[in-house]
Amino acid sequence: MKAVFISYNQAHTLQVNAILDKLEVRGFTRWALTEGRGSNGGEPHYGTHAWPSMNTSLMVFCKNQEVEPLLDALRRLDAEAPQQGLRAFVLDAEEGM
């Protein structure tokens, strides 16, 4: 069981949803509007006058073997529009119910 934290420019919402549907990843929690700055440079997403864009964050829980295809798909999406901002981090999930 793995947890994948994905934070991305909200403009990617539809594409990320499509990826989750395609890979049949069911378990996730979404925060529709989040703020963030990104670790690899790029523009901050603050929803302010200076930085008007916003992020959406996802916490996905999936089986271990589902992680790699998900990250692949996300990488491809990020490569298409690197300026938008899309990051994912994989964590261990110990137990679920």
Partner: protein, 1057 residues
């Protein structure tokens, strides 16, 4: 869900909503009538009181003054003017514009009913008239005839007047100058005396002979028959054989003592059309009906009417007020169309993509169409105000869409799908788009609150521009993102220059170069702040000097292809003589001014008895002219009505019989919006002789000024008259009262209406009077025979003396003071302000006798009123714009920086007016006020982006340059669309465009100049303020650090202790 998100997610609904709006708008447009101005109720009431037998002075003291004193209490009263003439008093109550005229009319009636007890018993009850625009004739027709001329009145009454009166919306159809049939009994007083008859007894006999009397009924068997005794004359010849006396057993017939003539009444007025005798038809509309529609209906009937008239009767149109309306509307519609095309081209030029251009330009028709719905709902018309409002708005409506689309494109370039880009791109800018719209609304909404005449004219402008701009913003945040989501391509970023797109390659390169060039110059300017600041301030100060060189005027005069003229000959000249002079002038006009297509001349007094006639100068010695020319564009000689008028004045100057004259290019007398302006010097004072002397002196001096024409006094010269003064004791001796004696004189000279002669359902007067040869001279009048109580004849000279007198002229008053106005029109090429300055210089130090006061009025008075309104408006606009911006930026300083461009906009206005030689008129001022909104909009775009860059952490100077470079295109786009949108108006093609030309010129000049300076001055001032702030912040930080250090040091020393 936000509006733009819903729009993107529900494209069908969005499209349908806008289609519905468009359909409603087009439906409204179809039903909109066209007119010159928005409907305005002239705030004027008139009180007319007649008091037969009183002369002007009596009328003034007994009627006018009492009524004026009472009327002075009416609410919203602006000015009271009055005219006291022989037999009647006419008081004009002018109310403030926008006052409720119906309510005021009720007030006036109340006042009058309170004051009737103050008036003399013999005076008739005052009548209150509402002065409505429907009283102004909408068309004049001329009718000329050959052999049918004598019967013209009857023919026209049956065939023309009745038909036209039936047309819906036609108020009144009047015939002027038609010959009236009259049966004249011209008696020979000598024969009359010989048979012991009098004019009165002849009258009685004729009346008694000319009756039909029902004589009862008669039963024959089962039937009942009416019996009547028809004594009425069946032919005018019957009159001759009327027995008037049987004295001494000899039958005396009417033909024995008088000449019986069935002829035309002596005309007090004659009309000539292109030198043919004729009749003028005046058509008035009903209040509230539409001029153009009615004229259309009337003209549609004319061919049928013409066909029904005898072959020699010719109908022609002298004046058609709908023509200039149509011309103005069509040229303005063209201006709007051209503006539309220009704006599309500009957007295409800057964006280089047809899809983007299409999306942006679609907001134009949608926003404009909404204004038609507004006009339809409020019952207004397509008029020059509403159309020029559209012309003004057209360059502004695309701005919001451009901002939204630009941001969406940026998102697409960063890799968003169009749909997401549309939603999130709009989300980022929608609030600031609404804020800039608020600024524009803050400029135009105050127009709707204007009072006075300006309010009537510009209320509609305020509403329309506000509505159009708000609609464009709504479209920009719903329709634009929706269309962008579905029409924009994913590869929106880089232009491919494929196919026809190759054309765009050099443009793109040019824009690129322009961006870089501007950035370079801006960098230099920002480094040399003081130089820039002071040199621009210098330019502004120079422009203020320039302002004094730009003449001012009220409203630009329009060449509406009409000239009217009033020519006054020496007093007491007969109509016949006046007519010969008229012919002389006609000949001059034909020879020298082939442009004049219709020349309608009227010699003599106006016979109609309406209020208009009472206000006009009347008399047998007066000729009035109406001249119609082809439209300016179709005039071969290219001479304007103003040039022709000036030449005509010179010609009239050369005719010795003419005492004075007045030529009015444009046809309206002073007042009104398009007519010629006048400069009036008002001479107040009770003493007639003193004011007359001053006025005459001024008349001479003002006429000598360069810019004045047709200088005239409002007070008529004293008029010579013969006054019959009865000796009462002698009258008493013969047992005649004064009244009977006067009636005797009147019956013999003016005539006695004895009875009516009836033929074919029409009635004609039978008038008994002395034959013409017995009332031609002074002696004839003295020889008039009166009859005493016992019937003995008395000659007039036995009981009365005939004296030549100078009758008091009409007495005019303004605000309860006697007044003489010295009125002058402006010559070709002179602006109102110039002439007023000349006149003011003349009046400076002018000595007036005790009790006489001078004042300059005329169009200047209205202009100053309006100028005052405009200054208030400007102040209101500036304050409102400041408030809106201060809340938007949450700063008191930013709006100040942005508003720094406003003075430069005015510099541009003055410069443009000066270069083109256009006077500063009210219309140009409206343009200048509008600039406040458009110019600040540019400033907001610049400052907002600079703020953003600084917030993102860029150093001030870099931020200023970077934001300038990035905002150059949007700023240029806004400015160029506005400038090109105004171009058709400023170039003034089309008839009737003169009125709006100054606005176009003002906006173009102001916009071009302020844009240029906005691009440099705003960054400079911004940098100055910002660097100051940085420095202060820096200083404060150092101070704080020092204090902290000191405190720490103190603490350290304490601890050590």
């Amino acid at each position: 869900m936000k509006i733009y998100e819903s729009a993107v997610r529900k494209p069908v609904s969005t499209v349908m909503i806008f289609v519905a709006v468009a359909v409603m708008g087009l439906f409204s447009l179809r039903n909109l009538a066209i007119d010159m101005y928005p409907e305005m109720d002239l705030p004027m009431l008139m009180v007319m009181t007649s008091y037969p037998g009183a002369n002007a002075t009596d009328i003034e003291t007994n009627i006018t003054r009492h009524l004026e004193d009472q009327l002075n209490t009416v609410d919203n009263l602006k000015e009271l003017t009055s005219n006291s003439a022989d037999n009647f008093s006419l008081i004009t109550v002018e109310l403030e514009w926008g006052a409720d005229v119906t309510e005021a009319a009720n007030d006036v009636r109340d006042v009058i009913s309170r004051s009737t007890s103050l008036l003399p018993d013999e005076a008739e009850t005052p009548v209150v008239f509402k002065f409505s625009s429907s009283m102004i004739p909408i068309a004049y027709l001329s009718v000329t005839a050959g052999e049918s001329y004598p019967a013209l009145a009857k023919i026209l009454d049956e065939k023309l007047v009745n038909t036209l009166n039936r047309i819906d919306g036609v108020g009144a159809v009047g015939i002027m100058g038609a010959p009236e049939r009259e049966v004249q009994i011209n008696v020979d007083p000598n024969r009359l005396a010989a048979y012991g008859l009098t004019v009165e007894s002849l009258g009685q006999i004729i009346a008694a002979e000319n009756v039909n009397i029902p004589a009862g009924t008669m039963d024959i068997g089962n039937h009942t028959f009416n019996i009547k005794a028809d004594g009425e004359f069946t032919s005018s010849d019957d009159l001759r054989s009327v027995v008037v006396s049987n004295a001494g057993g000899r039958t005396v017939l009417l033909s024995d003592v008088a000449e019986v003539r069935d002829t035309l009444a002596k005309m007090t007025q004659t009309q000539y059309f292109n030198s043919e005798p004729g009749v003028m038809i005046v058509i008035q509309k009903q209040s509230g009906s539409n001029t153009v529609q009615i004229v259309d209906r009337v003209f549609a009937e004319l061919p049928a009417i013409q066909a029904s008239l005898p072959a020699d009767v010719e109908l022609d149109i002298i004046m058609d007020t709908s023509e200039s309306i149509r011309d103005s509307i069509s040229s303005l519609s063209q201006a709007v169309m051209f503006a539309f095309i220009f704006v599309i081209l500009v957007v295409m030029f800057f964006l280089g993509r047809w899809r983007a251009t299409f999306i942006i330009c679609l907001t134009i028709p949608i926003s404009l169409i909404v204004s038609f719905i507004y006009l339809y709902v409020t019952g207004s018309t397509l008029n020059i105000i509403s159309l020029s409002s559209l012309s003004i708005a057209i360059g502004m409506v695309v701005d919001d869409a451009i901002v939204v689309l630009e941001n969406i494109t940026t998102h697409i370039e960063r890799g968003s799908k169009p749909k997401e880009a549309a939603i999130y791109g709009t989300n980022e800018v929608w609030l600031s788009v609404i804020a800039t719209t608020l600024v524009v609304v803050a400029v135009f909404m105050p127009f709707t609150m204007l009072g006075g005449m300006a309010g009537i004219m510009f209320k509609e402008l305020g509403w329309i521009v506000s509505i159009v701009i708000v609609t464009s913003t709504l479209a920009a945040i719903s329709l634009t993102p929706m269309l962008s989501a579905y029409l924009l391509r994913i590869d929106g970023g880089v232009h491919t220059y494929k196919g026809i797109g190759i054309v765009y390659k050099p443009i793109d390169a040019f824009l690129e170069w322009l961006d870089n060039f501007y950035a370079k110059v801006l960098g230099w300017v920002v480094r040399n702040r003081k130089k820039t600041f002071f040199s621009t301030m210098g330019i502004f100060i120079i422009s203020l000097v320039l302002l004094s060189l730009v003449p001012t005027e009220f409203f630009p005069a329009q060449d509406n292809a009409m000239i009217t003229a009033t020519v006054e000959l020496d007093q007491n000249l007969s109509v016949e003589y006046t007519e010969t002079v008229e012919r002389q002038i006609d000949a001059i006009v034909y020879e020298k001014y082939p442009e004049v297509t219709i020349l309608a001349g009227t010699a003599g007094a106006n016979s109609s008895d309406n209020v208009f006639a009472a206000m006009e100068r009347n008399g047998s010695n007066i000729i009035t002219y109406m001249m119609r020319l082809p439209r300016m564009s179709e005039r071969e000689s290219g001479r304007t009505i103003f040039e022709i008028s000036d030449l005509l004045r010179a010609d009239l100057e050369g005719i010795p019989e003419i005492r004075r004259f007045k030529v009015v290019p444009g046809g309206q007398d002073g007042g009104g919006m398009s007519g010629a302006s006048t400069v009036d010097v008002k001479v107040f004072g009770y003493d007639m002789d003193a004011t007359d002397a001053v006025a005459k002196d001024l008349e001479k001096k003002i006429a000598a000024l360069e810019g004045t024409r047709d200088v005239q006094l409002s007070r008529d010269e004293l008029r010579p008259e013969y006054n019959v003064t009865f000796d009462r004791s002698k009258l008493a001796y013969y047992g005649i009262s004064s009244a009977t004696a006067s009636t005797f004189v009147r019956n013999r000279l003016n005539g006695l209406d004895a009875s009516k002669y009836r033929e074919d359902g029409d009635e004609y007067d039978i008038v008994v009077r002395y034959g013409e040869e017995f009332r031609e001279s002074f002696d004839n009048v003295e020889d008039v025979t009166l009859y005493g109580a016992t019937g003995q004849p008395v000659k007039l000279h036995e009981v009365a003396t005939l004296e030549e007198e100078f009758a008091a002229p009409t007495i005019q008053r303004e605000n309860r003071q006697r007044i003489v106005t010295v009125q002058s029109s402006l010559g070709e090429g002179f602006a109102l302000g110039q002439v007023v300055n000349e006149v003011n210089a003349l009046l400076e130090g002018y000595e007036v006798p005790e009790g006489v006061a001078l004042e300059v009025g005329g169009s200047m008075e209205d202009m100053e009123d309006m100028m005052g309104d405009f200054m208030t408006l400007l102040l209101l606009v500036v304050v409102l714009v400041y408030i809106v911006m201060a809340t938007q930026f949450e700063s008191l300083k930013m709006p100040f920086i942005i508003m720094f461009t406003i003075p430069f906009a005015f510099t541009g206005v003055f410069l443009a007016l000066w270069v083109t030689g256009t006077p500063l008129s009210m219309i140009a001022m409206i343009g200048a006020i509008m600039l406040v909104g458009i110019v600040t909009k540019n400033g907001i775009v610049m400052v907002d982006y600079t703020n953003l860059l600084i917030e993102r952490g860029m150093p001030t100077r870099e931020a200023v340059v970077a934001s300038g470079k990035s905002r150059l295109r949007p700023v240029l786009m806004t400015s160029v669309t506005t400038i090109l949108g105004m171009m058709p108006m400023a170039m003034g093609f089309g008839d009737g465009s003169e009125l709006w030309q100054p606005m176009g010129i003002a906006i173009i000049g102001g916009m071009a100049f302020s844009t240029l300076l906005t691009l440099f001055v705003i960054p400079v001032i911004y940098t100055m303020f910002q660097l100051n702030k940085d420095r202060r912040a820096g200083a404060a930080a150092t101070k704080l650090a020092n204090r902290k250090a000191a405190a720490a040091a103190k603490l350290a020393t304490k601890k050590v202790k």
